[in-house]
Every structure is written in structure tokens, then in C-alpha cells.
């Protein structure tokens, strides 16, 4: 527990440095030296906000068991699509990230979310969307971890499904739509914002449905398996 306290402080310091200095600096530079570099500015900010997580993970020098279990969970999240190949557009990855975040904590949730989406882009192709995907999946995993740790949401099916559906519709989906907005539009007007977010809605709804269904059918067995690993081998006890 003592160790954990120190860990969080370190992360906080790095985060504070980034929030206080780098993000305003980037915003100022983008405002001052270039007009409307929405994409470049936002990607820089996204990368800054992901760095502390990676930095803390490296600094901690994770043990083999933690590392391999996280790698295996990421690989399951990426490969899970293969089990549903007969159902087009069914992506269970977000649900698995939420389960990992809830079961193993916010940090593990963020890492598996960001790393899984990065790896899946090695298969489907990297692009301007990569940092956004990493960020959106990471943030949902992180939030799942935080909300479960603070007891706001329990591991029961219903609250889990509500969280899963809402987090895709209100967090991950809009983040990815913003990426589309910044890459496809030269200027931000009310009309093109409305057009992009509305055209993203059906895709996000299908994604949310897949997430809810996976959570409904798969969350309880997955929790059991993760708990078993935790008690049997003592790995990753959040």
C-alpha cells in the first residue's frame, strides 16, 4: 500500500507538469504561430496526456508475471474480434478493456486500452486516427477502473452494461468523431460539427450495442477468471 501511494504521487507530478506547462504552451504556440492547426495541436495534447501512464509503467519496472498477464489480456482484446468474424461490425474490444479496468484497476485499464488499440492498428493499418483510438480506449479503461475502485459502479451486469453503453456513446465515440472532424474539415463551423457528430452516431450506436452485449454475456465469467488468477498466483492485485 505504501508503495502504491508513492506511485500515484509520481504520476501526479508528471501529470501536473504536463497540464500546467506543456498543454497551455502548445495551445499558445498553435494560437500564436499558426492558424487553425486543430489536428496537430490536439494530437500533441493527446500524446502529452498519455505519456505519464507509460512513463510510470516503465519506471516501476514491472515484474514478468504482471507484464505477461497484461500482454495476454491485450492480445485477447485484439484477437476477440476473430471469435465474432461472422457478425460484421461486432467489436468486443471495448467491453474487454472495461472488464480489465474494473478488475485490475485504472492504470491497467488505461494501459491495456491504449496498447491494444495501438497493436490492432499494426494489423488494420496505422493512420492519423491511431493516437485518438489509443486515447479513447485508454480513457474508458481508466474510467472503468476509477469508478469501480470508488464503488460508484458494481460488478453486477446492469450497471456494467449501462456504463459500457454510455462510455462508448458519450466518450469514445465523440473522441473518434472529433478526430474525423479535425482531419476532414478545414474550419470549425456549427454545421460541419453537427454533420460529423450525427454521421458518427450510427457507427457509435453499433459499437455501443456490441459492447453492451459482450458485457452482458461475458463480464461475469471474465471477472471469475481474473479473480482466480489473482488469488491463485497473486498477480495484479489492485
Amino acid at each position: 500500500m505504501q508503495n502504491k501511494q508513492i506511485k500515484l504521487t509520481k504520476q501526479n507530478i508528471a501529470a501536473i507538469i504536463i497540464i500546467v506547462f506543456l498543454i497551455p504552451l502548445t495551445l499558445y504556440a498553435s494560437y500564436k504561430f499558426s492558424d487553425r492547426k486543430y489536428y496537430l495541436t490536439s494530437v500533441l495534447i493527446i500524446i502529452y496526456s498519455m505519456l505519464p501512464f507509460f512513463f510510470v509503467f516503465e519506471k516501476r519496472k514491472p515484474q514478468a508475471r504482471e507484464l505477461v498477464v497484461l500482454a495476454v489480456l491485450c492480445a485477447i482484446a485484439v484477437a476477440s474480434r476473430a471469435a465474432f468474424i461472422w457478425l460484421p461490425h461486432f467489436k468486443p474490444m471495448m467491453a474487454i478493456i472495461i472488464i480489465i479496468g474494473a478488475s485490475l484497476g485504472a492504470e491497467a485499464g488505461f494501459l491495456t486500452g491504449a496498447v491494444s488499440s495501438f497493436v490492432s492498428n499494426f494489423i488494420f493499418g496505422q493512420g492519423p486516427w491511431t493516437p485518438w483510438q489509443m486515447f479513447s480506449f485508454g480513457v474508458v479503461g481508466f474510467l472503468a477502473g476509477l469508478l469501480f475502485a470508488s464503488g460508484i459502479i458494481s460488478k453486477a451486469r446492469l450497471p456494467l452494461c449501462i456504463f459500457g453503453g454510455l462510455s462508448v456513446l458519450l466518450i469514445a465515440g465523440p473522441i473518434l468523431d472529433t478526430c474525423t472532424l479535425f482531419t476532414m474539415m478545414s474550419m470549425l463551423t456549427k454545421e460541419n460539427m453537427v454533420a460529423i457528430y450525427i454521421s458518427g452516431l450510427p457507427v457509435n450506436a453499433v459499437h455501443a450495442l456490441a459492447t453492451v452485449l459482450t458485457l452482458l454475456l461475458f463480464s461475469q465469467p471474465m471477472f471469475e477468471k481474473l479473480d482466480r488468477i489473482k488469488t491463485k498466483y497473486g498477480v495484479l492485485e489492485a
Binding site: A75, A79, W86, L87, F118, Q126, G127, S186, N192, V235
Partner: protein, 273 residues
């Protein structure tokens, strides 16, 4: 895939693509945009030959759509080309802005398409292995596990069929439940295996020394030359004006030039046989 620029040091590869992509997003001057779009398309075609034509034209079409959608969503501008729907203007300025965005969109996607061919995960891990050893080890493991899990998922499905646990009906619900069971079996198997792998890693000394990398790349003379050219071109770009445009073209055409030079050398050598 064995192309000329591919044989350069991964640091040179990533320097080029990071530079090309970041500058492509930064410079909105029409000349710079045209240079970037042309250079990215040229290099992509050099890498893929005829097979890349379909993707290239698809992206060109998408970029044109992006360009022509803009004036419909953005009505600012003085030169009205025509009006529609209760005098809503379609302006030239908005259309030109659309072309700028479309051009940037096109060159970004083209650079990323070449990036995906050149920057294999192996090179990525080589570069980041020193910076982030734990994360890049994780990356290596995941990239190896994903295909193995896909195979395992197929064999689990086959085994379930054998023992009469295939989906009973033809309904989506049965199939979905079956897929969830496969995923569940896969997870149990994978997690148990993970701990065995980790213990084996530990007993063979994971973490006791600095990690080495399977792929070894050495900085050669050609890499240093390429870095110097890129730095010189960046200096030209920073000086601005027409010289900046020349520097930008020199930077972006570097991999294409290396590629063509290599093919010409090969042709000459072949003709001597």
C-alpha cells in the same frame, strides 16, 4: 518487401515519416500541399507498383469528396459561385479551403500507407526497445500472441463442434452465445499459460540485465548521409520563401530518389551480366 529505403536504419525511417507527416499537417500553403500530395503518391506507387493504384484512386476520390463537402457546410467567403436552397451561397473561398483540407487529408493517408509498409513492428520495437523496454516487450508478445490466439479460437470452435456443443439453432442468439463461450475458454487457457510463461521468463533471468533485440541495425554511412540531407532540407524549409519550397521537396522526395537510384543501379548491373 525489400525496397531501398527499407534497408536504411529504422531511426532514419522514422525521422523521415515523422517529419513528412508533421510538416504535412503544419504547412497549408498550396504549393507545399501539392508537393506533399505528389511526393506521397509517388513514393506509395514506387512501393506498391500496380497493386496500389486502387487504393490511391479510392483515396483521391475521398479527398475530392472532402473538398466538395466543405463549401456546403461552410458559407463564409465573398466570391459566390452559385446559390441553392433559399439563397445559401456556395463560395469559391470555401471550395479552395476544401481543396486545401482534401489535399492534406490525401497526403496524410498516402504517407501513412507507405509508413505501414516500411515501418514494420520489428523496427518499431528496435527503436523503442531502449526508451521503453517493458512496453516494447509487451508489444512484441502481443504481436506474437494475437495470431496464436486466433488459431486457438478456431481449434476451440472445432473441438466444441466435435463434442456436440456447436450452436443448436441458426439464430443469432445461439451463435453469439457460442462465440462468447469460445472467448471464455480462450481466456482461461491464455491466462493460465501467461503465468507459466512469466515464471519461465523469470527463471531464465528476465530483468537481470539490459534487454537485447532480435533485429540488429547498424548506423551505416548511407544513414548518416540521409540524416544530413534531411537536416539540411529542414534548415532550408525554416529559412522560408521559395528556398523553403525547394527544401520541402528535397525532404519529401528523399525516399523516392533512393528507391529510383537503387532500381537504376540494379538495372545497370543486370544489363552487364
Amino acid at each position: 518487401m525489400n525496397t531501398a529505403f527499407d534497408g536504411y536504419h529504422p531511426a532514419v525511417n522514422i525521422m523521415f515519416f515523422a517529419g513528412a507527416i508533421a510538416m504535412g499537417m503544419f504547412f497549408t500553403h498550396p504549393v507545399f500541399l501539392c508537393v506533399s500530395a505528389a511526393a506521397s503518391a509517388l513514393y506509395y506507387l514506387l512501393l506498391t507498383h500496380k497493386s496500389g493504384m486502387g487504393f490511391l484512386f479510392g483515396m483521391l476520390l475521398t479527398a475530392l469528396c472532402v473538398s466538395f463537402i466543405n463549401p456546403f457546410l461552410n458559407t463564409t467567403g465573398d466570391t459566390v459561385l452559385f446559390t441553392y436552397l433559399n439563397a445559401r451561397p456556395f463560395t469559391l473561398e470555401a471550395l479552395l479551403y476544401g481543396f486545401a483540407t482534401g489535399g492534406m487529408f490525401f497526403s496524410m493517408l498516402m504517407w501513412f500507407a507507405s509508413f505501414n509498409i516500411i515501418m514494420t513492428s520489428e523496427k518499431f520495437i528496435f527503436i523503442f526497445g531502449a526508451l521503453a523496454p517493458a512496453l516494447s516487450l509487451m508489444l512484441t508478445m502481443i504481436l506474437r500472441l494475437v495470431p496464436s490466439f486466433k488459431r486457438k479460437a478456431r481449434s476451440i470452435a472445432a473441438a466444441r463442434k466435435c463434442i456436440g456443443k456447436a450452436p443448436k439453432g441458426d439464430t443469432k442468439k445461439d451463435a453469439l452465445e457460442n462465440s462468447m463461450s469460445i472467448l471464455s475458454v480462450l481466456t482461461s487457457w491464455a491466462l493460465e499459460n501467461a503465468v507459466i510463461t512469466a515464471d519461465s521468463m523469470k527463471s531464465r533471468g528476465y530483468g537481470s540485465a539490459k534487454r537485447s533485440c532480435f533485429a540488429q541495425y547498424k548506423l551505416k554511412k548511407q544513414d548518416i548521409t540521409a540524416i544530413i540531407i534531411m537536416l539540411a532540407a529542414t534548415a532550408l524549409i525554416a529559412s522560408g520563401g521559395a528556398v523553403g519550397g525547394v527544401g520541402y521537396a528535397a525532404f519529401l522526395l528523399l525516399p523516392s530518389i533512393i528507391h529510383v537510384k537503387e532500381e537504376l543501379t540494379w538495372l545497370i548491373l543486370k544489363s552487364r551480366i
